[in-house]
C-alpha cells in the first residue's frame, strides 16, 4: 500500500501530528477519497513498529492523539527505495467489456450496441472530467488528465473493437 510511503514522504519535511498528516494528505491527494483518521492511526502504528518513524513527543491536550511523529533514517531510506522502484504496469488482461462483447456475440445479441453504450458512458465521464479540469487548478488538471488518458485508451479499444466486430464474430463461429 502506498499510503504508508506517502505519509512518510510528508513527514520528511518535518515532524507532524497525526491530525496534521491527515489534513496534508487530503489536501494534496484526497480529492476523491479523504483518509479516515483510523487509517492514519493504524498506518502510523505499523510504521512505528517497523522503526521507520519515531515519536518525538506527546503533548498534553484534548485531541485523541497528540503524538508528534518524526521520520527515522530508515524511514528516509524506505521512501527513497519506494520512489526509485518503478510501478508495475497494469496488464489489464481481465476485461469485463471484452467478456460482455463475446457473450453478446455468442448469444446473438448486438455487440455494437454494447460498445456504443459504453462509448457514450465513457464520453459522459470524460466530459465531466474535462469540465472539472477547465475549472480547476493545476493539480486538478493533472489528476483529471490521468483519468482522461486512461479513458481515452479505453475509447480507442472500443473503436478498434467496433471496427473488428465482424472478424471477431467469424472467429467465434468457427
Amino acid at each position: 500500500m502506498t499510503i504508508g510511503h506517502t505519509l512518510l514522504g510528508l513527514l520528511e519535511s518535518g515532524p507532524r501530528h497525526g491530525y496534521d498528516l491527515k489534513r496534508a494528505f487530503d489536501e494534496r491527494f484526497g480529492q476523491d477519497r479523504p483518509l479516515h483518521y483510523g487509517q492514519v492511526y493504524a498506518t502510523m502504528a505499523r510504521l512505528l513498529k517497523n522503526g521507520l518513524v519515531e515519536v518525538e513527543g506527546i503533548e498534553a491536550g484534548e485531541g485523541p492523539d497528540r503524538k508528534r511523529y518524526a521520520i527515522t533514517d530508515a524511514g528516509v531510506t524506505d521512501v527513497e527505495q519506494w520512489l526509485a522502484q518503478p510501478e508495475k504496469p497494469e496488464p489489464y488482461l481481465q476485461s469485463a467489456l471484452y467478456t460482455k462483447v463475446v457473450v453478446a456475440l455468442l448469444t446473438g445479441r448486438s455487440a455494437q450496441d454494447i460498445l456504443d453504450t459504453q462509448r457514450s458512458e465513457h464520453l459522459r465521464l470524460m466530459r465531466e472530467l474535462t469540465r472539472r479540469k477547465s475549472g480547476g487548478d493545476l493539480s486538478d488538471q493533472l489528476i483529471c488528465d490521468h483519468a482522461l488518458f486512461h479513458l481515452e485508451a479505453d475509447m480507442r479499444w472500443l473503436e478498434l473493437t467496433a471496427a473488428r466486430l465482424d472478424q471477431l464474430a467469424e472467429e467465434l463461429a468457427r
Binding site: S120, E121, R124, R127, T130, S134, L151, A163
Partner: protein, 241 residues
C-alpha cells in the same frame, strides 16, 4: 433518428425550439465512392456537437454540406428554416461570411498577411471598415492569448499560435455557427487542449454553436454531445442522452 433530448449540461437554450441547423437524409458521392449515405444532423444555437467516426467515414463531407460549401446529391440542409441548396452560390457565400466561421487543421492562414490582418480578413470581407476590423481582431487575439504575434506572419509563429489565430479569425465576426474540422489535429496535446478550451469558452461566451469534427476523444470531450458517423450515416448514441 433519435430526437434530441437535453443533456445534463447547464443552461442551454430551450430544446423545444427548432434546431439552428438541420440536415436530413444527406447523400453525397464522389464518383463511385459514397461519402454520405443518408446522414442526419441537428444542432441548436449555442450547442457544441462533436462529430466523430473512423477515417473516411464522411465527417468532413458532412461538415462541408452543412456549411454549404458542398452541395449534397440528395437530402436537405436547413439553416434557420431556410434551405441552403435553394440559395444561389453568391447568397450562400454571403451567409458563410456573415453567419459561419471556420477552423481547419492547418494551412488556413493567408501566408502573406500578418496574423492581425488574417483575423481581420473575414470581417473585412463582410464589409467592416479596416480600422474597426483590425481593432476587433486585436481584441480577439488578446482573448486567445496571442496578442504578441499580431504583427507576425503565419510562417513566423508556432503551430499552436497559428491555430489560435485561426480560432480568433473564426470567432471574430461573431458567427452563429463555427465549423471546426480537426482543429487540433496538428497540435501536441497541451496546445490542443488549450486551443479547445479557448474555442469552447469563446463559443459559449458568444453563444455560437460549434460543429466539431474530430477523431480525438479528448477533444470530443469538450462537446455537449457527440454524433458518430459510420459509413456515411450519422447516429446520435441514445445512451449518451
Amino acid at each position: 433518428m433519435t430526437p434530441m433530448t437535453p443533456t445534463a449540461h447547464s443552461a442551454r437554450p430551450g430544446r423545444s425550439e427548432a434546431p439552428l441547423l438541420a440536415a436530413t437524409g444527406l447523400h453525397k458521392s464522389y464518383g463511385a465512392t459514397p461519402a454520405l449515405a443518408g446522414a442526419d444532423f441537428q444542432i441548436h444555437g449555442g450547442e457544441i456537437v462533436a462529430v466523430m467516426g473512423p477515417s473516411g467515414s464522411g465527417k468532413s463531407t458532412l461538415l462541408h454540406c452543412l456549411a454549404g460549401i458542398v452541395s449534397p446529391d440528395g437530402g436537405t440542409v436547413h439553416y434557420q428554416g431556410r434551405e441552403l441548396s435553394a440559395l444561389s452560390d453568391a447568397r450562400r457565400s454571403a451567409l458563410r461570411r456573415s453567419d459561419f466561421g471556420f477552423v481547419f487543421q492547418f494551412g488556413q492562414l493567408v501566408p502573406e498577411l500578418t496574423c492581425l490582418e488574417n483575423v481581420a480578413l473575414p470581417l473585412r470581407l463582410a464589409g467592416t471598415r479596416r480600422r474597426d476590423a483590425e481593432q476587433r481582431a486585436a481584441e480577439w487575439l488578446e482573448r486567445l492569448e496571442v496578442a504578441d504575434v499580431a504583427g507576425k506572419r503565419p510562417g513566423e509563429v508556432s503551430g499552436g499560435q497559428g491555430q489560435r489565430v485561426a480560432i480568433a479569425r473564426a470567432l471574430a465576426p461573431r458567427p452563429r455557427v463555427v465549423f471546426a474540422d480537426e482543429p487540433t489535429g496538428a497540435l501536441d496535446s497541451l496546445n490542443g487542449e488549450r486551443a479547445m478550451q479557448l474555442l469552447t469558452a469563446a463559443a459559449r461566451d458568444t453563444g455560437a454553436a460549434v460543429v466539431l469534427v474530430t477523431h480525438e476523444v479528448r477533444v470530443a470531450a469538450y462537446s455537449d454531445r457527440e454524433v458518430v458517423v459510420r459509413d456515411g450515416r450519422a447516429t446520435t448514441p441514445a445512451a449518451a442522452l
